[in-house]
């Protein structure tokens, strides 16, 4: 009997040495004549434990992490690589973690019992970690293409109604009702329509799109096919960041496999409906994550934001009706169709239905992907899941929703996280990214950085964004060097107001979020008395 070992192959695991661990493991197997079957799975997103090595036992997978190449020898010595008489055979679900650690200090017990994972409610990430990303049989045996099979038997209007009933809203950040967008594109008449998947995940602190593309790529393909089938689009475009070389290669491979297996092409699953996906590499522009700038970029132009209306659903790519959806939005779709709208809709709160894959990042002890229903609090995420800062110091600032998101003041850390609640306090959930800073951070520096980032990434179309961002840097520099602080602070507020009101897209209109929240909640970092 061979020993089955799992080791992830996504970018985050590779970044912390998964390939080196794999090489050492194979060397160990050769030296000790172990009949070893090494499976490169996806990462569960327990990123502080990566590289996370799992050993298959009759009762389930046993996890070890974070494993470095140097740990392979001691793992071997502990006997866990034995197929007969391994101490892992005796582990039961009720064992205390201290007993488990006696087997080997890195042993974490059954993977599915790790509290970080156990406490989640995974819908969109249900397969991630369990399957080999590029094995179609793995995908199919874990509910893959069930949503598509269902969709193929439904009229488009019924699919749209199902998505409407589920309450799904765009997960890219804008949170627009997906069903309404689809309905608009369905009702638009045109000889050619398009599905565009926005995989230009540029927000710092976010990586859920990357994780899907690297760890469960067929789910995205399935979502895109269903979207195409629904609105009557035969061509899809997938726009992936150039900063994501692993994700790009993963999608390239998955699209190729899906074509060969008849899931993409002239007749989807033999039903006579055509759908194809063109994979496009972005080129390092943050603003191209804005849907109209993305469309310009796909057309081979500078990523300049377009004025809306017309909405892309009516006049989008090449002037044709186009649905632009984020990766996570599209991956929710097969799940909703296979399990039913109600199964999704019953999760969450208010008008924020279903789950959100939060991403816990920055100075955090246990960073990773946490998919839970809307309604969890920031305190639960950062402290219960995350364990506070990695540095062990006090948490000073938490930014939610990417670089255009607000620093959430402590008084709101217990607020149920929904689109509505966050909107009410002038914040945004965005794409679900959470970045934690400890008490060594200078918030005026982060405010300056927000302006600097806007200056770097502004497409230049709107003056308040293009020039205001540079002016903002200058004003914050004045404040930081104690020059004319009161007047400069007033000027900064005024400038933020202008940017907010006078910019077409979120780049200019939301850059004031981090700037003003830093100024309002951390006044002493700007040379002012605490409020």
């Amino acid at each position: 009997m061979s020993l089955t070992v799992y080791l992830p192959c996504d970018a985050a695991s590779l970044a912390v040495g998964a390939d080196q661990v794999a090489a050492k493991l194979m060397q160990c197997a050769r030296e000790h004549a172990i009949d070893l079957d090494l499976i490169r799975n996806g990462s569960y997103g327990l990123l502080w434990l990566e590289p996370l090595l799992e050993i298959q036992t009759n009762a389930g997978r046993i996890a070890f992490g974070p494993v470095q190449a140097d740990d392979i020898e001691s793992l071997y010595q502990s006997g866990v690589f034995k197929t007969k008489g391994s101490p892992l055979q005796n582990i039961s679900s009720t064992d205390l973690i201290t007993d488990i650690a006696a087997i080997h200090p890195l042993c974490l017990g059954f993977t599915h019992n790790i509290p970080y994972l156990q406490k989640q409610q995974r819908m969109t990430f249900s397969r991630v970690g369990l399957i080999r990303p590029h094995v179609l049989d793995d995908y199919i045996s874990h509910q893959g293409f069930k949503g598509l099979s269902r969709a193929l038997s439904m009229p488009p209007e019924q699919i749209v109604q199902t998505i409407l009933d589920s309450g799904l809203r765009g997960r890219g950040g804008a949170a627009f009702a997906t069903g309404i967008k689809w309905k608009t594109a369905l009702n638009a008449s045109a000889s050619q329509k398009y599905i565009v998947c926005n995989a230009d995940e540029g927000d710092s602190g976010t990586f859920s799109d990357r994780m899907i593309m690297e760890n469960d790529p067929f789910a995205l393909i399935e979502g895109m096919i269903i979207a195409g089938l629904t609105i009557g689009a035969t061509q899809g475009y997938l726009y992936v960041r150039s900063e994501y070389p692993q994700a790009f290669k993963s999608m390239e491979k998955a699209i190729d496999l899906a074509e060969k297996a008849g899931y993409l092409g002239s007749s989807i699953m033999g039903h006579g409906y055509a759908f194809r996906i063109k994979l496009r590499k972005a080129a390092g522009s943050y603003v191209c994550g804005e849907e109209t700038a993305l469309l310009e970029s796909l057309e081979g132009k500078r990523g300049m934001v377009r004025a809306k209306p017309p909405l892309p659903a009516i006049k989008g790519l090449f002037g044709q009706p186009t649905v632009v959806n984020n990766v996570i939005t599209l991956v929710c779709v097969p799940e909703i169709l296979s399990k039913g709208a109600l199964a999704y809709q019953r999760l969450g709160m208010d008008q924020s239905r279903g789950t959100l894959p939060f991403q816990l990042a920055g100075n955090i002890k246990r960073g990773g992907l946490i998919e839970v229903p809307f309604g969890i609090t920031l305190r639960e995420l950062v402290f219960d899941f995350g364990g506070g800062t990695a540095s062990g110091r006090a948490v000073k600032a938490i930014q939610v929703g990417g670089p255009l998101g607000t620093y959430i003041p402590q008084e709101h850390w217990n607020l149920a996280m929904t689109y509505e609640n966050y909107l009410a306090i002038g914040a945004t959930l965005g794409h679900g990214g959470i970045v934690v800073h400890d008490d060594t951070v200078d918030m005026s520096e982060l405010a300056r950085y927000a302006m600097e980032f806007c200056a770097l990434e502004s497409c230049g179309k709107c003056t308040p964004c293009r020039i205001g961002s540079t002016r903002g840097m200058e004003v914050i520099d004045q404040i930081r060097t104690n020059r004319d602080t009161d007047n400069q602070t007033e000027l900064l507020r005024d400038l933020c107001e202008t940017m907010k009101d006078g910019s077409l897209c979120a780049m200019g209109s939301m850059t004031p979020n981090p700037v003003l929240s830093a100024l309002n909640f951390y006044p002493s970092d700007f040379g002012q008395r605490d409020a």
Binding site: V16, T206, R210, A361, G362, L446, L456
Partner: protein, 153 residues
């Protein structure tokens, strides 16, 4: 230069339909083959796609990814966005520039470039050396990473 660049450029152009929507894929292919977008390739690309020189120039200069001058053989992208900042990315970036020079003025076989998010935000600070990702990178770890490529000409 043109003589060297002409062959791969025409080969690349012949692989794509001559439509503007293929401009970014073409520019990617040119940069992958030549290391940058040579200024005199802009006119050739524009002509092939039946668009203006200004239009191609505008696209090349809009996107951070495209380079208009030759650079060192290896590219080190150091993330300077929030999640990496919270774990010391600014020190790491300065360290990288001290070792390799800045983007405009590389001193050896590695060009350093600031980038804004590699999606490795829970294992920060992060860098990408060519296409290889590294997380939890300390300045010492960066020395080791760069040792693999710094000796090369």
């Amino acid at each position: 230069m043109m003589k060297n660049a002409a062959d791969p450029l025409h080969k690349i152009l012949s692989a794509y339909d001559p439509r503007q929507e293929n401009l970014l894929p073409i520019l990617h292919a040119v940069q992958d083959a030549l290391g940058y977008i040579p200024p005199d390739s802009v006119q050739v690309i524009a002509h092939a796609l039946s668009i203006s020189h200004a239009e191609v120039h505008g696209v090349v200069t809009f996107y951070h990814h495209f380079r208009t001058h030759p650079t060192a053989r290896h590219h080190l992208q150091v993330c300077r966005a929030e999640a990496c900042r919270s774990m010391g990315a600014e020190n790491l970036y300065e360290h990288a520039v001290r070792l390799c020079g800045n983007q405009a003025n590389p001193t050896g076989s590695v060009t350093v470039q600031a980038t804004y998010c590699l999606g490795l935000c829970a294992t920060s600070p992060a860098v990408l050396l060519d296409d290889t990702p590294y997380g939890r990178v300390t300045p010492d770890a960066l020395d080791t990473i760069l040792d693999q490529v710094r000796g090369e000409k």
